[in-house]
Symmetry: C2
Subunit: 460 residues, 2 copies
């Protein structure tokens, strides 16, 4: 599929129809539209109009109009995407799902929930707690990102190590397609093999295959107990090595988060005072029954003692969240180190992690571009951030390319949870061969033959 | 796609090419072919020829020839499918993968393995134990069914309750397509959202979308400890109720297997002597750390004590397997109750289970057809068996239809783990609407445009 050009405006007749359908929930003035021109990337694309549907019937009517008047649609949740995938890069209508935010069902016996796409991940988690139920995926944005957006990007988070990512919790979807057709993607039972399993096609599809009207999620019982270790290392690679060592002993932390020496620069003040020359951190969270967590704590303390490592420990909810706060501020704080930042969220098979970090440090030395690489060490998903000033942009872009090449050399992948969006689109051809791309394009055409859904996103 | 007719023979030229390629691993005599005319259904279809490739290059050459000479292919593992999906119902070549049975890699650090499709599930489990690793899916056939067949059917098993089914453990596939093209379905890292997630399309595709050349699996650490309860109930529904009660308390057994009163008829002699009027059984297995399992055992004993239920308990591997044997003999033993048997493996959402069993008992009373409904109560996946004599076949078929209708009324699905194959093909239209079927047919055409792979299977 060659890049498609759309008129950046929607026809007068279509605009009128949308206005009639949505009334004051159809936005066209610059002031109203302004918030929808941005996501968490550094891109800016103003849509000609924004729709705020409240029911699936309204969404289906919008999809009918899109097909009839041939205008593109960009579905959007809270706009926390880091890649431009929530922006109307191909022109056309932004459809914001923030007003479709009802939890439609929580079924304790089946351990499932059905939600509208605009429900916030954090709101769902809080509501489920009342039922002693648990929805594990925890992107850093979880208090303000929507389940629909999480499904669209296939969001992960620290808990991915033990619990997997969004894809492991979407049981079925009610999808709306251009033209207004609906498609239920699976039987909605816990097991089922009658149709082809198409639900996972939509998880991580970045709004390019369909829009979500209802999302059925699989849930787990809430773990009884959590405990968090924050471990300090005088040398950064030792933090990664310890993570691997623990996994090889058959222990599976809920989270194993690595903080590299560059990232430590921006959180130094939040760390324990006793720690002067720290080059690496490892956050290890454990959860489960009280007995299980107590047992693993004893084991971890033993390991840390034998290595004479300094660590902090937390077991109360508030204490735990306070320690995690240190990890969460890294991404925004890195901007204090330079005026420009490029972020990627590459994945390396665990055994390549050490080589990867060494490679980054050499690159840093050679080029002078500051490189932070923190994140989900447990599953090899590193958030690599290049920080530089305006005048070094050219060399920074070269550094980025060298890193992405290295990731692929190490049998990794270019994105673990953020997706491709617009910002990584040109690199997809490095990872996928022609035949893989052809299959992707055919799948796209199968659900969206006119290419109206989020054009210019994900597919090169 | 209307049913397609293939010449039941392969052209002389194609046969010669296959013979040249495979030598004595190309079977054409009736005696040699006989074992490949059957699977675990009651169907029989003789293929004109059988191929026993040993390498992926040979498989790809077979796929090239199939495309060139237009003959269908039925991929096959050990032939334990219960639905005819391993039989050459559309004519053409059976390709048996039993000689491609190498474990290509076990990666302890990443907790992954790469296997050829013909590796037996039980052999892989045994090998992984040496590394303290665990591949959970456990279909009843696991000691003699292949991983390739497990992936093709999306096999489940008792452990599905806690651990999910095959789909939750297939990380990526190397697939061969008609014409000899290969497709790697995913990046092979633990996380990754660059391509559309097409791997799950193939899990449960019953040989209709592609053949598996290599299968990459996600593994878990081997649980430290197991413990099994076999609980006796004077009334069958109480067994189901207890299962639900335990799940609602936030306890997740590894397995929760229900045995109904009809099934008890064939295993009575294996049960504990003290139990005269037993109408229901519940197998509850727990696994995890020693502490975790001990804690849950105390809790379960307490619950059982308060209900004054009789139970047996096992904690040593051999004892546990001996108790499970009682569950495993049900399926073959049911044949002693009547000359004919029809089996389905329907799924009911948990809250509909009681109503479903009551419905079956009424139907039994009304029609005289004996109904056994045992299985994976935890996830609502019941093995429903109708047992009858030749002269009651007509009424038995009516009973079957009534049951399948009831399953769909209860928002269930017609198959949880066995698949559609040939035997349930005509019922698929009851579950899926025209648009869902259209999407399935388009997905089929995307990978297999000529319809050469397992024709007349799965899709109506």
């Amino acid at each position: 599929m060659s890049p498609r050009t759309f008129s950046s405006t929607i026809s007068e007749e279509a605009l009128k129809n949308l206005q009639d359908l949505l009334g004051d929930r159809f936005l066209v003035t610059e002031e109203e539209i302004h918030p929808y021109a941005f996501d968490a990337s550094s891109l800016c694309f103003f849509p000609p109009a924004v729709a705020l549907p409240e029911t699936k019937e309204e969404v289906l009517e919008i999809l009918r109009l899109a097909d009839k008047y041939n205008f593109p649609i960009t579905p959007r949740g809270s706009g926390t995407a880091t890649t431009g995938s929530a922006l109307p890069i191909g022109g056309g209508l932004v459809v914001s799902f923030t007003r479709m935010n009802r939890i439609l069902e929580i079924n304790s016996e089946e351990r499932t929930a059905v939600v509208e796409p605009g429900v916030l991940n954090g709101d769902l988690k809080r509501e489920l707690k009342k039922y002693n139920l648990f929805y594990p995926p925890d992107p850093a944005s979880y208090t303000f990102s929507t389940i629909g957006g999480n499904v669209a990007t296939g969001a992960g988070g620290p808990r991915g190590l033990k619990y997997g990512t969004t894809k492991d919790y979407v049981l079925s979807l009610l999808v709306g397609l251009p033209g207004g057709q609906t498609l239920r993607t699976g039987p909605g039972t816990l097991k089922g093999v009658v149709p082809y399993n198409i639900t996972p096609l939509f998880v991580g599809s970045e709004g390019t295959l369909g829009v979500f009207l209802e999302i059925q999620l699989k849930l787990l019982p809430l773990p009884e107990k959590r405990a968090l270790f924050l471990i300090y290392f005088p040398e950064e690679l030792s933090a990664l090595k310890l993570g691997s060592e623990i996994l090889l002993q058959g222990i599976t932390p809920a989270c194993a988060e690595f903080v590299d020496k560059t990232s430590i620069l921006v959180i130094k003040e939040r760390l324990d005072a006793k720690t002067s020359s720290i080059e690496g951190l490892l956050f290890l969270e454990f959860d489960g029954t009280k007995e299980e967590v107590e047992k693993v704590r004893v084991k971890i303390r033993e390991i840390l003692g034998s290595k004479e490592l300094f660590f902090q420990e937390a077991e109360e909810e508030l204490e735990i969240e306070k320690l995690w706060e240190i990890r969460r501020v890294i991404s925004p704080s890195l901007r204090t180190l330079g005026s420009k930042k490029i972020s990627d969220d590459v994945v390396i098979p665990r055994r390549g992690s050490l080589e990867f970090i060494k490679f980054l440090r050499n690159l840093e030395k050679e080029t002078g571009v500051l490189i932070a690489a923190y994140g989900h060490a447990g599953d090899g998903n590193f958030h690599v951030n290049l920080i530089f000033d305006e005048e070094h942009e050219k060399v920074a872009l070269q550094v980025r390319e060298a890193i992405l090449r290295k990731v692929l050399d190490l049998a990794g992948t270019l994105s673990g949870e953020h997706g491709v969006g617009f910002t990584k689109r040109s690199f997809v051809v490095w990872e996928l061969n022609d035949f893989q791309l052809e299959i992707m394009r055919k799948i796209k055409a199968l659900f969206d033959p006119k290419g109206l859904l989020n054009p210019n996103i994900k597919l090169p």
